[in-house]
């Protein structure tokens, strides 16, 4: 992507002041790390870390019939949400492939707050706008919000200190309260497996809040740690583990698809795959010995040395000290215990198909 089109979050200057190493990611100039990925990863598993997620998108869906319309656009069942509740879902193309994975929150009878991936803001918006019907309204509020994710066993304590008198929502919930310059939106979700929350505030207030959460015990963390943390949990990364060529059923995320709720875009393919079983499945792979860190696009071979796939994600797990990866493999090779080989610059490292997730956080989510 040309330098001129790289966007800045409201927190960019603060990251530089905090000594972050900045890299282009999904069209945004983002911190990859401040101290080291190992340090930051450990802070989230052991205490609390804070990530800039201002690059992610926020859409507001409203108007009469908003729920019915969202249920046609998304794979999960929005009707299951009460006010103040959210769910993980997928925006699919006609073939059932994933355009984006997102979280949809119900904030009122006909009001929904959607958090979408940074690189997909424009595409998601165009796709949804194209399918708008009736009185449903869709608004992209992404530039208005700064966002940060505070994650780790001590994240609730950091919230209590930073926001005295306010209460965190329950798991998957959403609350709003007034702050300087407007309103804060707090969602109890995350991308690390630890207890935590996402905090959205007016863009101009982002720096002050990020610094406040640091003062209240959260360590500044970059995208490097975010990637190793999410992969330990087998949370998919859009564009790597999810793509328009892959369905949620192939990705093993059928739990977030409701085939019973009525028609939605992509349903036909998903129903067929669910009935027949997908030809390929996204599996979790763990090295059985020490080895060079697995990384996305490294070739994956079967025991006979045939290249069967490539890794969609991979990292040396900081928590486990072991190479972990995900890859789409033929269903016959997706059984737990299947031995496969990761090719790293010509050297073959044995790995086994293992149960997801790789890592179980010590602190169960509330």
């Amino acid at each position: 992507m040309p330098v001129s089109t790289i966007q800045s979050t409201p927190l960019e200057k603060l990251h530089v002041r905090l000594g972050a190493r900045m890299v282009p990611f999904a069209g945004w100039n983002m911190p990859v790390q401040y101290t080291s990925i190992m340090d930051e990863h450990g802070a989230v598993r052991g205490a609390a870390g804070i990530f800039d997620i201002s690059h992610m998108g926020q859409f507001i869906v409203g108007g009469a019939g908003a729920l019915e319309w969202l249920n046609k656009m998304l794979a999960n069942n929005v009707a299951k949400l009460g006010d103040g509740q959210g769910q993980y879902s997928f925006l699919l193309n006609e073939a059932g492939g994933v355009i984006d994975d997102l979280i949809v929150y119900r904030t009122g009878e006909n009001d929904f707050f959607l958090v979408v991936n940074a690189s997909m803001i424009e595409e998601d918006f165009a796709w949804m706008a194209k399918h708008l019907t009736g009185d449903v309204t869709l608004r992209n509020e992404s530039p208005l919000w700064a966002g940060m994710a505070v994650q780790g066993p001590e994240s609730a304590a950091a919230f209590a200190k930073a926001c005295p008198g306010q209460t965190l929502p329950p798991r998957n919930g959403i609350v709003r309260f007034p702050v300087e310059g407007g309103e804060a939106v707090v969602c109890r979700t995350g991308y690390t497996g630890e207890d935590g929350f996402e905090f959205f505030c007016p863009a101009g207030e982002g720096e002050a809040w990020f610094e406040k959460f640091i003062e209240c015990g959260a360590k500044a963390c970059g995208l490097g740690a975010r990637d190793s943390l999410r992969l330990e949990m087998c949370y998919p990364l859009n564009g790597s583990d999810l793509s328009p060529q892959r369905t949620p059923i192939e990705a093993g995320l059928g739990f977030f698809v409701d085939l019973e709720k009525g028609d939605f875009i992509g349903r036909e393919t998903l129903a067929k795959q669910k009935a027949e079983g997908p030809a390929e499945k996204l599996v979790a792979l763990a090295y059985t010995d020490k080895g060079a860190p697995p990384r996305s696009h490294y070739p994956l071979e079967d025991a006979a040395g045939n290249v069967i796939s490539e890794l969609s994600s991979g990292v040396l797990s900081p928590s486990l000290g072991q190479g972990i990866a995900m890859a789409y493999v033929p269903a016959a090779l997706s059984k737990l215990g299947t031995e496969l080989f990761v090719d790293v610059r010509g050297r073959k490292f044995p790995a086994k198909v293992v149960k997801k997730p790789f890592y179980k956080p010590a602190t169960a989510k509330a």
Partner: protein, 125 residues
């Protein structure tokens, strides 16, 4: 930043210590700090002949793999098994226990052509 005076440096951040016709090669303190936590080192086979600029070893952090280039031509005569067992030695002792491989030098003039400590300090600013 630690830049020992007795070593020579490559602009791609390898250091060289020449003793007789044996050159020990590692990566600089600056390079290990840039890479951060080293989690894997891939060593070359002993006996391999390399030319200046050949990718000869690989040092990996959680996020990235970095080639280590031969700063001079020669034959790999010894590799540091200790960094294979404990890659963090590259971070904690880059000029000592964190050395990577030793070359039998073909042409000592190639060592002279490398940066001295002052030149390397100027490079890394």
């Amino acid at each position: 930043m630690n830049v020992p005076q007795n070593l020579r440096y490559n602009s791609s951040h390898e250091w060289v210590l020449l003793e007789g016709d044996i050159a020990t090669v590692g990566i600089s303190d600056h390079a290990q700090e840039e890479l951060t936590d080293v989690v894997f080192v891939e060593l070359p086979p002993v006996g391999k002949t390399v030319d200046v600029g050949d990718p000869t070893a690989v040092v990996e952090s959680v996020k990235a793999a970095s080639d280590i280039y031969a700063p001079i031509s020669g034959e790999v005569v010894e590799v540091n098994d200790a960094v294979e067992a404990d890659p963090s030695l590259v971070n904690t002792d880059p000029y000592g226990k964190g050395w990577i491989f030793k070359l039998k030098v073909k042409n000592a003039a190639q060592v002279e052509a490398l940066l001295d400590a002052a030149g390397y300090e100027a490079l890394i600013g």
